[in-house]
């Protein structure tokens, strides 16, 4: 038993840390630290910097442009990326559709899409959830009907993150209305410019518009945009959702946020003393730090076990990552809002950002309440925490 990294792993960590230090654009980094929304360019530019270095799709197999890193190296990379802080490579492209394409796609699809994903030439969005299919995703009703060498897609997707920037969407659509609900679904790639697709932004409780509804009205898509086999889309979707287990804990991001929280708690004053010296507030920070350290160790246990597992059973520890990781992220955003007291109240509309008006002091307070509201999402997306508990109860406890 040994919790330390090897000499090689430490050298790797230093290399990655140094690269991030020198190459994350200053403005992007500043936005992340302050908790402001990233622009499309922030994400595209950064992913291209990574791609140039050969790291944009680090977790993919080498033959498709990946790095061939060990599980521990991947863990280190992600940890350093988050603590830098730097943006994640676009998850809908790199972690979701990419692996589905290289695992189940045709040679043409691989050749065309994979390099474009790595360089973020195509911005991808995810067409899974529907108004009537959330936790019960297999209950989706968007239909794709084959007509000659085309699909005709009709229906509605929702919660489509950053669809306003997207060039492409991957869609789960029902292709066999008579089959059992999981068995009549196909996985189809669509160009967002195809006639019949409309995008309607949805304003969320944080005031921003990061998600959308996407409507499909007789959208005509070439038959060869089907990934893998017809009616096997549910298997591919499950593969996609189970693909990335460790990054979901977002330990590095939470660490970075705690450092920010402590910085602000030194500036903000309560009862004539910095918030950091208020025993009650400090105890709240300490409590979340303890839980985060435990989660970090749990994540390391999962990573260390990853290389050694023979069976396909989920590691009991891995199921904790999503639940505990989201609770901790939410807890920290709560404290970040609390630390600025009444200055959490003034609301700055995203659309007004960049105006010449001076911010209502203190400037750093503006994004904190919106992040708190926005982060309610982390215990809902990717399978709500309640669904996660159902999964653990069944798969691990055998209940």
């Amino acid at each position: 038993m040994d919790l330390n990294f090897t000499k090689e792993e430490i050298a790797f960590r230093d290399e990655v840390r140094d690269f991030f230090k020198k190459n994350v654009p200053a403005e992007t980094k500043k936005r992340l630290i302050e908790g402001r929304k990233l622009e499309k360019d922030d994400i595209v530019n950064w992913q291209r910097i990574l791609n140039k270095k050969g790291w944009a799709v680090y977790q993919w197999p080498k033959q498709y442009g990946g790095t061939g890193w060990t599980a521990v190296q991947k863990y280190i990379f992600l940890e350093e990326l988050q603590r830098a802080p730097a943006p994640d490579p676009l998850p809908f492209a790199v972690s979701m559709v990419g692996p589905v394409i290289y695992t189940f796609g045709s040679e043409e699809q691989k050749k065309h899409f994979l390099p474009r994903i790595a360089n973020l030439d195509d911005w991808w969005c995810q067409g899974f959830s529907e108004p009537g299919a959330g936790s019960d995703l297999a209950g989706l009703s968007t239909k794709a009907i084959r007509e000659g060498d085309h699909w005709i897609i009709n229906g509605q997707k929702t919660w489509t993150t950053l669809a306003q920037y997207a060039d492409c969407i991957f869609v789960l659509a029902r292709t066999d209305a008579k089959a059992k609900k999981q068995e009549g679904i196909s996985f189809i790639l669509c160009d967002m410019k195809t006639p019949g697709i409309t995008v309607r932004p949805i304003q969320l409780i944080d005031g921003g518009k990061e998600v959308n509804e996407v409507f499909f009205d007789n959208v005509k898509v070439p038959y060869e945009n089907l990934v893998g086999q017809e009616n096997r889309g549910w298997d591919y979707a499950k593969f996609l959702l189970g693909n990335e287990r460790t990054g979901i804990a977002r330990v590095g991001i939470s660490k970075e946020r705690i450092r920010r929280l402590k910085e602000l708690a030194k500036i903000e004053v309560s009862g004539g003393k910095p918030m950091m010296e208020d025993p009650r507030f400090r105890a709240k920070i300490s409590q979340v730090e303890v839980e985060l350290k435990a989660l970090e160790m749990t994540q390391m246990r999962v990573v260390a076990a990853e290389g050694k597992r023979r069976d396909n059973k989920p590691d009991p520890a891995s199921s904790i990552l999503k639940i505990k990781g989201s609770e901790i992220q939410q807890n920290i955003t709560d404290l970040l809002m609390e630390v600025v007291g009444p200055f959490a109240l003034p609301f700055t509309d995203e659309d007004d950002m960049g105006s010449n008006e001076l911010p209502i002091a203190p400037g750093y307070a503006g994004p904190l309440a919106p992040i708190y509201f926005n982060y309610r999402k982390v215990s809902i997306y990717g399978g709500s925490n309640e669904i996660q508990k159902n999964i653990i109860a069944k798969a691990i406890l055998g209940l």
Binding site: L3, R260, K262, A265, T298, R301, A304, K389, L397, L399
Partner: protein, 383 residues
Amino acid sequence: MDFEFSEEQQLLKDSIEGLLGDKYGFEARKKILEGTDGWSRELWKQYAELGILGLPFAEEHGGIDGGPVETMIVMETMGKALTLEPYLPTVVLAGGFIRRFGTDAQKNKYLPQIAEGKITGAFAHTERQSRYDLFDVKTTAKASGGGFTLDGQKSVVLNGDQADFIVVTARVSGNQRDKDGLALFIVDAKASGVSRRGYRTVDGLTAAEIQLSGVTVEADALIGKPGAAYPLIEQIVDDGIAALCGEAVGVFSALTEATTDYLRTRKQFGVNIGAFQVLQHRNVEMLIAAEQAKSMALLATMMVNEKDAVQRHKTMAAAKTQIGRSAQFVGEQAIQLHGGIGMTMELKVGHWFKRATAIDIQFGDADYHLEQFGQMGGFETAA
């Protein structure tokens, strides 16, 4: 980064699990618990034969040179079996002081006897007013005739009633709450002036109130330098915390598993109650609390020999906080999900719960350690 046991460690785990599996069934444990000692001297001999009573000691002192991971393995298994023998006070605490800081003469005198199962020890530190502060000591040690005379009152001393030797903290100088001025002495339990009032603790273990009235010891009873004992006490309590974390892991996993088994078999409304989502989720939350505790126990184990006392102490404070929080949640939920039967002494669940509760309190509860952790600045520094 590797969380797997070596072959030798696995062997140790298997052999102690084998022994306790045989000897620590519910009825057998009940018999031991109801005996006069409250623990089994016969099993103590078998621990000696297995080598675990000398686990952390050097081979020349009858030990097997085990490290923190080996101690964790033993403690976890003991937590699962809910053993009653004074392993922690004898091997980790009192024995630990001598192993880490004792003179050669002290090591030669005590460690082989501990390893052979001939003597047990206790660590007498807590006083009426000290709560969990390790520096708060009123008991005095006055130099007299080349030795020392000890006077004071020690409370809730684990195994204090039956120990053959007692490691006592006392003040040679300074005020009650000074970190400087503390000293450690090995006191023969039968020495004149030592009076002990033994009792059971809530979890069925034994402890004592110890009165020291003009107890004289020779200079060779001193561990370390007089006046400079505080860092030594911190180290041994950190050892104790790490060991308790290991024990807690055994207790929590046993509580979680027992509850899952109960949900699978208990029928109400014509179905196994495990079919109810509200109970499933509660059981999952127990699992999460137990796994988080296990993660911190591993970290505590890895940090217990850290030379940087602040880093070490900070990690122990964080670990003990997590263990305490998990103890309360896992324990309380195990009783709740068992319903009425969980309230009885007729099922092991209640016994585990009581041990979990005691583990939280020992060496400082979750709130105490959370405050310590905060005062030391936490893990992350302000941006």
